[in-house]
Structures are given as structure tokens and as C-alpha cells.
């Protein structure tokens, strides 16, 4: 693989960039792989990457029915944080955040991780208590966060109106090393690195069935024919139920639409990410200058990647109230994704009733930030059969009533 660097660019500049190889190889499926990962989104590609990097398992295929990174990886608001309340969440999200810190170097692909700082606003007494609780929990979890005053919030984010008549800002939970990254680049960077390790990334290939021998998986049927494998990882987010059904088991998840929008680009005016859970909206400014806006999910099961406009309206209303200068900006584009939510709104990284089949889903609205940590943990689970990071996220926790409920303090937004 040709290394990326300023020098490489300079060299190519003088031969019309004719020397650049494909970022990832185009391959047809082999007859058999040690591991097949279904879903070439961030989570699937990261899983494959760490299988190779951490466990030397490289006879791996990542199968994608569309184009890689084309699902929620490519349609989210790119927020990265690990200021979670519950231990299992804080562990995997902080693992993830720390991997983002060095991802560009690890992958030799600039994913533009920008630890610009993230604030969760407290606008009610209840939120103050909730976030102070999170701050205390984080202090014991090795997650660096701090409770900051309203004045400090204003200092970090001058365009915010902290004296709103309705919900004045009372303070915030600040994670200085939270931020954003370039979402597509995360998928592309992993894909390039996987391909470089000899893994096959097979796009435009849909899994039509899961082949089992008794209770053990032996392969998959695809639109490009049958492919054998010893282990199968299902990492398909919103379509997890559909795929699980093919493997003969069900998942405690539902798929709903999550929407986001961007404004037209403007000059830099906001250097932090702000989440306002009382009014249900979050905001950051992309490197292009667009104000990136997201909110809560739609209420009903939906596979269309289109949402209902009134949710966009509620989110915009909330953010214009909190950031009055936004009013004069224009909505450039709105879009929707399909997110899969579980009974406790926390993900599932788990073995399944089918031997050799592992599932990674249920990230709901919080998936992007978890990509490297999720991949790291999922790879360990698939390679070793267990991982401390996935222990609590097994799909059987619902039977025992052992939930991981983050809505407790953080509200619902991610």
C-alpha cells in the first residue's frame, strides 16, 4: 500500500496523481473465510480491522449489500464522546474515544478527529443532578469530564444564549476531548487498512440466507453465491432483525428513523459540540462551515430512511431558541437514517443462539462515536469468545432484567 503523506502528494502532483492506487481492492468472494462480517459500515469494518490487527485473523470477508459506509456511518452527526453514566457504557465509549485519538496515524488516513470539546447543557435542576452524577461516575471510570458553570459554557460557546427566558443554561457537563470526526473517512480508512491486510471487502453483495449445520453456522448465501465461514459477525444496524431472522433467531430491537440536517456553510463561529437534552437538540459546526443539527428519533418502525418533518421542526425550534443567531441561516439539506434501538437503549454485542454467529447492533442514535471501540470489543469477542467490554452488552440481559439504562442521566439524545 502506498503510504499517504504530504510528500506522497507532492510526488504525485508532478505526475497528475496518476500513481495513486485503489484505496481498497475490488474482489470477488472466495469460497471460504475464517470469518465473514456482514455489513461494511464503520462497526463491521472496524471489527474486521481489529480481528486482523489484534488477533492476526486476516482470512476475513466484509460483505456489504450496498456501498461501504453507506448506512448510518455516512449519515450521522459525527459526535464523539464518552461521558456516559453506566460503567459498561463508559468503558466501551471511552475505549472508542481513545482509539479515535490515534486513528489517523493508526490507519494512515486522516479521519480528521477533532477533539474540540463537547458540552451537555443542564437546563433544569434535574439535569444538574444528573450530570453531576455522571461527572462523579466518570471520575471513577477514567473518563475525563468536568462540571462547568453557565459562564464557562458561554465562554466556550459565545453564540449561545444562556439566559433564554424558558430554559436558562444552569451549567454543563464538559468533555474537553470529545468532538467530531469525518464520518466517511472512518469507513474508508478502515476499509483501506483491512484491504491492505488482505481482507476482502465485497460491495453490492446481499446476504440472502444463513447456512447452518445444526445449531452451528457454516456459511451464508449471497447474491454472489454461497460463501463458507467458521464465524459470522452480523453488524448491520437497522437491518439486524431482518438478518437475524435469516439465521433463525430474533432480536429485542426495533428500527426507527433518525433525522439530521445541515445549514449552508458559514465562517467558523462555534468551536465546541453542544447537546441540549431538555429541548432535544444538538449542534456542531463542520470543517466545511455547515451547522450540523440533530435531534431525537421518530416514533414508529420505519425502514425508508425518510423521517417525519415535525421532528426536524422540533429540533430546529429548540436550537434556534438556544442559539438565536441560527434563525437567519438556512436549512441546506435534511436526511434520515434507520437506527435500531433496544429495550434499554443500549447496544447488543453478543453471542447468539446460533453457534459461531455474533451480533453487534442496537446502537440506536449513538453508533458513530463507538465505531473503533465496538470493533475492538467485537473482534475480541469473536476471536476469544468473551470480552470484558462486551460482557454486560449480551443479548440475554433483558431476560434477567439486567439493563444498562443511560437515559437515567443523559436524557435520550446522542
Amino acid at each position: 500500500m502506498k503510504r499517504y503523506s504530504a510528500f506522497a502528494i507532492a510526488r504525485e502532483a508532478f505526475r497528475q496523481h496518476s500513481g495513486w492506487d485503489r484505496a481498497w481492492a475490488k474482489r470477488e468472494p472466495k469460497k471460504k473465510y475464517d470469518v465473514i462480517i456482514v455489513g461494511a459500515g464503520g462497526h463491521g469494518l472496524a471489527t474486521a480491522y481489529y480481528l486482523g490487527k489484534n488477533f492476526g485473523i486476516t482470512n476475513v470477508a466484509v460483505i456489504e449489500k450496498g456501498w461501504l459506509g453507506g448506512g448510518n456511518t455516512g449519515r450521522n452527526t459525527t459526535i464523539i464522546r464518552s461521558n456516559y453514566l453506566q460503567d459498561p457504557s463508559a468503558a466501551i465509549y471511552e475505549k472508542s474515544r481513545s482509539l479515535y485519538e490515534t486513528m489517523s496515524q493508526d490507519l494512515n488516513y486522516n479521519v480528521m478527529f477533532s477533539p474540540r470539546g463537547l458540552i451537555m447543557l443542564a437546563q433544569t435542576q434535574h439535569e444538574i443532578r444528573g450530570y453531576q452524577r455522571t461527572a462523579h461516575a466518570n471520575a471513577l471510570q477514567g473518563v475525563s469530564t468536568e462540571w462547568i458553570s453557565a459562564a464557562r459554557v458561554k465562554e466556550l460557546c459565545p453564540i449561545m444564549n444562556i439566559d433564554g427566558p424558558r430554559y436558562p443554561v444552569l451549567g454543563g457537563l464538559y468533555q474537553a476531548r470529545g468532538g467530531t470526526a469525518r464520518h466517511d473517512a472512518v469507513a474508508w480508512g478502515y476499509a483501506r487498512a483491512c484491504s491492505d491486510m488482505g481482507m476482502d471487502i465485497i460491495q453490492q453483495c446481499e446476504v440472502t440466507g444463513v447456512r447452518k449445520n445444526g445449531d452451528k453456522v457454516v456459511g451464508v448465501d449471497t447474491t454472489k453465491g454461497p460463501i463458507d465461514c467458521d464465524k459470522l459477525g452480523m453488524v448491520v444496524a437497522g437491518h439486524a432483525s431482518v438478518l437475524a431472522q435469516k439465521a433463525g433467531f430474533r432480536l429485542p430491537i426495533e428500527s426507527v428513523a433518525l433525522q439530521a440536517l445541515v445549514s449552508e456553510p458559514i465562517k467558523p463561529c462555534m468551536d465546541v459540540v453542544v447537546m441540549a437534552n431538555t429541548v432535544h437538540g444538538y449542534l456542531s459546526q463542520s470543517d466545511k462551515g455547515e451547522m450540523v443539527i440533530g435531534g431525537g428519533t421518530d416514533g414508529y418502525n420505519n425502514y425508508t430512511q425518510r423521517g417525519s418533518f415535525h421532528h426536524v421542526e422540533e429540533t430546529v425550534r429548540a436550537l434556534v431558541e438556544t442559539f438565536p443567531m441560527l434563525g437567519r441561516l438556512k436549512m441546506l439539506r435534511q436526511w434520515g437514517g434507520i437506527v435500531d434501538v433496544t429495550g434499554d437503549r443500549s447496544p447488543i454485542l453478543s453471542k447468539t443462539p446460533v453457534e459461531g454467529v455474533f451480533v453487534n447492533c442496537g446502537w440506536g442514535t449513538g453508533g458513530f462515536k463507538a465505531i473503533p471501540g465496538s470493533g475492538w470489543a467485537m473482534a475480541e469477542l469473536m476471536a476469544k469468545g468473551h470480552s470484558p467490554l462486551t460482557e454486560e452488552f449480551n443479548m440475554f440481559r433483558f431476560r434477567e432484567g439486567k439493563f444498562i439504562d443511560e437515559s437515567v442521566a443523559a436524557g435520550v439524545a446522542h
Binding site: 426495533e254 414508529y300 417525519s308 433483558f398
Partner: protein, 109 residues
Amino acid sequence: MLTLHCPNCGVHADETDLHAEGEAHLKRFGPDSSDDDFHDYMFQRQNPKGVHFERWKHVYGCGKYFLAARCTATLEVFGTYSAQTHEPPQAIKDAISAKRPGWSWGDFS
């Protein structure tokens, strides 16, 4: 932006007058039921990409619940009906069969 006909008050309701209330026809399992039954009742969902049965509440309108048969892949609505029933009326099932031959959902088809 859905519109659903409320069978209780006859209004062709805008989605903003309604509240989605999750999967329909769940069978409640109480004390002495098995862990599996209770788990499935609480958390296991059909979540189909296609024909689905769900609960809606006309929350800004008459305040009554009703059930809807809807396609989650196209948002086509096959019909709405009373919440006071354990399974979809035959007319609804027929309407679905006409549009989606061979459909099935849970115990229904």
C-alpha cells in the same frame, strides 16, 4: 408524515395529532409465566421490513387508541381498526393479502 384514519372519531388524523404506541397484539404475561414468555412480551419485537401491526393513540384528538396495519418499507397503510381486539379483522387481512400476497406476521397471515 403519516396520516391515519382514526376509527374512533372518524378523523383522518395528521401524524402530529397522533402518538405511536409500539407493536400491536402483544399478549401480556404476568406472574407465574416463564422467563422466556415474559421476555418476549416485554422486549421481543417483530420489527419487520414490510407488513406491520402497531398501536396508535389519537392523543391530540379523541384520546383513544387504535391499531394500524402498515408497511414499514413503503409506509402504505392497509387499514386501521379498533384496539379492542386480539387479532386484525378479516377485512384488514384480506386488504393486505391483496397487496402483499403471502405475507405473515407473528401468528397472523
